[in-house]
């Protein structure tokens, strides 16, 4: 094992070419994932978080999709340079995916056992019987009671939560180095979500794999993440240690996200406006049109570069952290100093 991160995403750009123009879904983002750690990519719908996760093993539809730029270094190899055949040997083997909808990941006409056994035998040279034994073991480890019996059941015979466990078992079948989980608990009830989150944590301890966990729910992030990448409109707004993100959020967007969580009563605050066009994104910071603190400089040029915010490893893309600006201004409420400068047209733009 080297000291290099397991996965290093550098300046990744993923675009979709549509009739209306090029949608810049992921527009130059960078982050890394160390061995054995959990990185959460958090953002609203349309932030590009799912496209990011799908770009790593290039499972986006190409065309209309295209990885326009950037590098995805996985264990020293650049995945963007690989052929589809080479990638196929990595997908499901060293990097496994778990998606939001477990229904879609399982073929309804085969038993779950057959599907997992096949997944094992694609990448490993083992006998059917050995693969079957491994499968029972896996199903048991992901918490499916009576694994020996349920292995011969069809997907429809499992509940939503159990199906997601099966999908996780399938993802783990080749003991991947990296598990990419895209909103794996969003379709589940809270009580089941708690079970799955705990399961993922336990499995990570057991297998020592890294996890990229994509979600919109900050509660889930707090529950599972080691480090957090906050995305908005195809750009990284902030990234850092989970404790820093929750206790000292630096970017106005992160702060706003924390304020709009339900369950805070009258403290809860919506973020005005809506996501900008991804075909023709605004100049400057992508969040500026909705930011209560935005000043003229925020709407100039490009997204500000990632700056260190107080602590090493905690980086933020906001001009208030650049020289000549005072980041403590961000702590004042939206009615504070910036209110006069912030755009007052409000409302959700179309």
């Amino acid at each position: 094992m080297s000291d290099d991160p397991l996965l290093d995403v550098r300046d990744l750009k993923t675009q979709f070419h549509t009739d209306d123009g090029t949608v810049r879904a992921v527009d130059g983002i960078s982050f890394d994932v160390d061995r054995g750690e959990t990185v959460c990519i958090v953002g609203e719908s349309g932030s590009g978080k799912s496209v990011t996760s799908e770009s790593i093993t290039r499972i986006i539809p190409i065309p209309p999709g295209e990885i326009a730029d950037g590098e995805v270094i996985f264990d020293g190899q650049d995945l963007t340079e690989m052929s589809t055949d080479q990638l196929r040997k990595i997908r499901g083997n060293r990097i496994a995916h778990v998606f939001q909808n477990p229904q879609g990941a399982l073929n309804p006409v085969y038993t779950v056992g057959k599907q997992i056994i096949e997944a094992i035998r694609i990448h490993k040279d083992v006998s059917k019987q050995e693969a079957r034994e491994q499968t029972i073991d896996l199903l048991d480890r992901v918490g499916i009671p009576e694994a020996g019996k349920r292995i011969d059941d069809y997907p429809y015979e499992f509940s939503g939560g159990m199906k997601q466990r099966v999908v996780i078992a399938m993802a783990l079948s080749c003991q991947p180095d990296l598990l990419i989980a895209d909103e794996p608990t969003t379709a589940l009830d809270v009580t089941i979500q708690a079970q799955i989150l705990r399961l993922l944590g336990d499995l990570q301890d057991e297998f020592g794999m890294s996890i990229i966990f994509v979600t919109h729910d900050l509660g889930v992030v707090a529950e599972i993440a080691d480090r957090v990448v906050v995305m908005y409109a195809g750009k990284v707004m902030e990234r850092g240690d989970v404790y820093r993100i929750f206790e000292n959020p630096a970017h106005p967007y992160t702060k706003a996200l924390l304020r709009c969580r339900p369950g805070q009563g009258s403290q809860r605050e919506a973020i005005r406006g809506s996501l900008p066009s991804m075909i023709d994104p605004p100049d400057g910071c992508r969040f500026a049109p909705r930011c209560p603190h935005a000043v003229e400089d925020c709407r100039d040029g490009d997204q500000p570069p990632m700056m260190e915010a107080e602590h090493p490893g905690h980086e933020v893309s906001c001009i208030f952290y650049q020289d000549g600006f005072d980041s403590t201004q961000l702590d004042s409420g939206p009615e504070g100093l910036s209110a006069s400068e912030a755009r007052t047209d409000g409302g959700e733009s179309r």
Partner: protein
């Protein structure tokens, strides 16, 4: 119509769906989607109906508006039973009670401009003058924060949050007294949810509306509801003022539900009490208290004393034995997969018993020797495929009130109502048997 009657009072509402088989459509069972729920909503009040998917909360909504015919029970609107209404009266009721749906996109006809959609209830209820409709719709759009000029645009030209505002305008158009909102914010991004919730409560205040707010999200319910009713498998298990229910939940299910919400504090991770298993099928709900198959606080029978978690595991085992859901061949195969044994014939009974114990998380020995002897006897019988005997001895030894009697809705010490045997006067509960709930 009596002035002091609540706006809406639901009494023992039931909605069962028959399961039909065969060419003659004979009924072989019924799905008890809603099985006897009662609650009331006053003018100007928001009732939050909360529960996991499949608990029957949406069916309760459509049934109490008679969008589906109730199987049993009464729905009193202004003191008058709407289940007795004929078509004409029902249509008048439909004007006074409006509904808002979860998916703002599919709740608008894509071929109608939003002006037409918002005006549709007006038209249905007899306003034939297009100019008047237009004036009302323009005013309504402005009141929900849209522009009057949006009237000729089509639904696809708006974002989800905007569409939900327009849906509110549509619901308001006929000046209703009651609004039933079925997960109105769940499809929206968290960043704009608060706006919609705020708009709902503002409009409610302005027009004195009664609101039934259905959601799976306890956080949202906590923000918007005055009173809350927690549903599990077609029944209401706890109901009371929102703050009280959230601050001192009296039903173990409510406690588990509140605990399951991930806390936004990374330093508090892993604190939740985990609820095992899935929601049972409403076609065949458990006897007694419907939650007893998952309840972490299921009551131990008298005369035993061992850890609550082990007791929970023993109960899980007992349920599976009774329903013969333990597959010996599967366990044998599991033993083969886990150990060096290769021939199914060579798997010993002890290995099987151990496998079952670990499958159900039952400790190797129970701390109570009497219970241990009953359990090990039952395990031995199960391995010998004597399910009936095992089931009988387990039932005799481990009988719990939770599995036999259905609890009544009683007023708890906290001041609001819950239906759980832990609050029965007749059931004696030793303090140690309950998992201590810290009221943090």
């Amino acid at each position: 119509m009596s002035a002091d009657a609540p706006l809406l009072e639901v009494r023992n509402l039931k909605k069962h769906y028959p399961i039909q088989r065969g060419i003659f459509g004979g009924e072989v069972g019924r799905i008890r989607a809603v099985d006897g729920v009662s609650f009331s909503v006053e003018r100007g009040e928001t009732l939050g109906l909360v529960g996991e998917s499949g608990c029957g909360k949406s069916t309760a909504a459509t049934t109490m508006l008679r969008l589906e015919e109730p199987t049993d029970g009464d729905v009193l609107f202004d003191g008058v039973d709407i289940t007795e209404y004929d078509d004409r009266e029902l249509k008048r009721f439909r004007r006074r009670a409006q509904m808002i749906f979860q998916d703002p996109t599919s709740s608008f006809d894509p071929r109608m401009s939003i002006g037409e959609s918002v005006a549709e209830p007006l038209r249905i209820h007899g306003m034939s003058d297009g100019n008047r409709r237009r004036a009302i719709v323009k005013d309504l759009l402005e009141r929900v924060g849209m522009s009057g000029d949006d009237i000729d645009r089509y639904p696809h030209e708006f974002s989800g949050g905007q569409k939900q505002r327009i849906a509110l305008a549509r619901a308001l158009s006929v000046n209703p007294d009651l609004i039933v909102a079925d997960e109105p914010a769940s499809a929206l991004d968290v960043s704009i949810q608060a706006d919609i919730l705020q708009l709902i409560s503002d409009l409610q205040e302005e027009f004195g509306l009664g609101v039934v707010f259905i959601s799976h999200d306890l956080g949202v319910i906590r923000d918007i509801a005055d009173n809350v009713a927690v549903m599990y498998l077609g029944e209401i298990v706890e109901t009371g003022p929102t703050e009280q229910v959230f601050d001192s939940p009296q039903h173990p299910y409510t406690r588990a539900l509140i605990d399951s919400i991930p806390s936004p504090n990374p330093r508090e991770r892993g604190m939740a009490v985990e609820l095992t298993g899935d929601v049972p099928s409403p076609a065949n709900p458990p006897s007694g208290c419907r939650f007893h198959t998952r309840c972490p606080e299921v009551i131990q029978p008298e005369g035993y004393d061992f850890e609550q978690s082990a007791w929970r595991s023993v109960m899980n085992f007992r349920t599976k034995v009774t329903t013969r859901q333990i597959d010996l061949d599967g366990i044998r195969e599991f033993v083969i997969a886990e150990t060096d044994v290769t021939d199914p014939e060579d798997v010993t009974h002890d290995q099987m018993v151990d496998a079952i114990r670990s499958d159900f998380d039952i400790p190797d020995t129970l701390s109570d020797p009497e219970a241990e002897s009953v359990l090990s006897d039952a395990l031995e019988r199960v391995v010998r495929d004597e399910f009936d005997e095992a089931s009988a001895s387990l039932a005799e030894a481990f009988e719990t009130v939770c599995a036999t009697d259905s609890p009544d809705m009683v007023r708890t010490e906290a001041g609001h109502s819950a239906s759980c045997h832990l609050h029965d006067q007749s059931v004696e509960v030793e303090p140690g048997e309950r998992i201590a709930q810290s009221d943090d």
